[in-house]
């Protein structure tokens, strides 16, 4: 056996032995790679890919929406009530949205992990935080579509008080909740997807972290679903906003490490 030190390639200056690089052959461009893309361009590329893949696989949004609809039907019969309002209505809506969101969180990185998307991304000269932002935006988009389906269905199947009056404030509260779910969901999904028990680990990690969002969201929504609707309490909106900010920063700080070997 030759030892490494016996190799003529390691004994002599490498350049001295290297054959000259050939003339550009067919397929090689003189200056192919331009400037590495910036954060916005990378996020746009990743997000575009996400929004191309999801409508073709239908892996996330239809499942999330169907789950929410089915859960409302189950509540309808389990509670044996034609209508709910106040705290109960807000609780049912937020818990249902939370569990539906978990389905999307669980699928968020599966294609990347199974089809080598992580490696392809890691080989590129780009800011890794771009993947967090793009995935969180994709999840946010899925949540908005989910709510466009789920909220009218909830109003139809369970909600007593009229929905249209509550809608503008409700979408504000939902948007605050969605941002937190997207940040935490993306972080947890990235952590879980590289483990063997990813389908179990994702929900187990996500649920405790998402509880404050459900509490804040339900408390803020409850006055909107009262018989005599009032505005959501500012402190719950503030709580949601602060939680979004804190977990957005934590996710951005940790995400790079999650992609490392």
């Amino acid at each position: 056996m030759s030892t490494p030190t016996e190799s003529p390639h390691s004994a002599a200056p490498a350049d001295a032995q290297a054959p000259p690089r050939g003339e550009p052959v067919s397929g090689r461009a003189d200056a192919v790679a331009g400037k590495p893309p910036g954060m916005a361009a990378t996020v746009a590329a990743l997000l575009r890919k996400e929004l191309l893949v999801e409508p073709r696989t239908l892996e996330s949004v239809p499942g999330m929406s169907l789950f929410a609809l089915t859960t409302f039907v189950v509540f309808h019969f389990a509670l044996n009530r034609n209508s709910v309002d106040g705290d109960l209505a807000a609780g049912i809506l937020w818990v249902t949205l939370l569990f539906a969101a978990i389905l999307g969180v669980n699928r968020l990185f599966v294609a990347d992990a199974d089809q080598g998307g992580f490696d392809g991304f890691l080989l590129a000269p780009v800011d890794r935080g771009a993947m967090l932002v793009a995935k969180a935006l994709a999840l946010l988009a899925y949540l908005v579509v989910l709510e466009l389906v789920a909220v009218p269905a909830f109003a139809l199947l369970l909600l007593g008080p009229s929905l249209p009056n509550a809608l503008p404030s409700l979408f504000g509260v939902l948007a605050l909740g969605d941002v937190g779910v997207a940040a935490i969901g993306t972080l947890v999904a990235a952590l879980a997807v590289r483990t063997r028990a990813r389908d179990l680990l994702g929900p187990l990690l996500a649920l405790p972290l998402l509880v404050p969002i459900v509490i804040g969201g339900a408390r803020a929504t409850s006055p909107l679903f009262a018989t005599h609707a009032t505005a959501p309490a500012a402190r719950w909106l503030l709580t949601l906003g602060l939680y979004d900010l804190v977990f957005g920063l934590i996710a951005y700080a940790l995400f790079d490490f999650l992609l490392e070997d």
């Binding site: 390639h9 050939g22 790679a33 590329a45 080598g116 490696d119 080989l123 590129a124 070997d261």
Partner: protein, 225 residues
């Protein structure tokens, strides 16, 4: 300056030693061919060089940058063609290559040029999941060279390719491409013909390291026994 300088490189997975005590130097424009049976450590070596795995011992300098601390400096200068094509099955060949082109800051004209070279223009708008493995491998070759990397890491690059397809991709990843290459191969005669330097691995350890001209094909066959 050497394109690759490895000194005592090692990597383990839990208790199992996947790669151990690999030391070599490879000049720019040269080709290192790595032989070894399944599980010998070839893919682990390629993934370390691609910055996708951290070495657990020893040092690795790739294109002048020390890994893993300066890995950021070589990303975008390496092309990896592994067992997985690193392509999304639901996207078409064109969409996949455009996606990677955006990540590398490469103009879209380059995508069309490569699709033509690998003769994929006829099925360019079909999802990858509908294509044969050979076709997917052709697209994967195009992806690996999309940004004209200085260093090509090729894990059995001709797997799944028929002779005509091999001819198609040869200008991109073959000896005439001019890239510095590290190739993992199971083909003693074909691999030797391409190599400047040969590394034979057995259970993660170097069992052979010599200039290609000094290697007998029988020595490579011996690695698999």
């Amino acid at each position: 300056m050497a394109a690759l300088e490895l000194e005592g490189l090692a990597r383990h997975y839990g208790e199992r030693e996947a790669l151990s005590d690999v030391s070599l130097s490879l000049g720019a424009g040269q080709t290192l061919v790595v032989f070894g049976g399944n599980g010998a450590g070839k893919t682990t070596l390629l993934r370390i060089l691609a910055t996708l795995l951290r070495p657990h011992a020893g040092s690795a300098r790739v294109l002048g940058s020390r890994l893993p601390d300066e890995a950021w400096a070589v990303r975008g200068r390496i092309g990896l063609l592994g067992h997985e094509p690193l392509l999304y099955r639901e996207l078409t060949a064109r969409e996949n290559l455009r996606f990677h082109a955006r990540l590398h800051g490469v103009a879209e004209e380059r995508v069309e040029q490569l699709l033509e070279i690998v003769a994929m223009t006829g099925r360019v708008n079909e999802p990858l999941r509908t294509l044969s493995r050979g076709m997917v491998q052709r697209v994967a070759v195009a992806r690996a060279v999309l940004h004209d990397p200085e260093l090509l890491l090729l894990d059995e690059p001709r797997a799944n390719l028929d002779p005509a397809a091999i001819e198609l991709v040869d200008p991109l990843i073959g000896a005439t491409s001019g890239h510095t290459r590290v190739i993992s191969s199971h083909d003693p005669s074909g691999g030797l013909a391409e190599a400047d330097l040969v590394l034979g691995l057995r259970a993660g350890r170097p069992a052979l390291l010599r200039a290609a001209g000094d290697v007998d094909p029988a020595e490579i066959t011996e690695l698999y026994r």
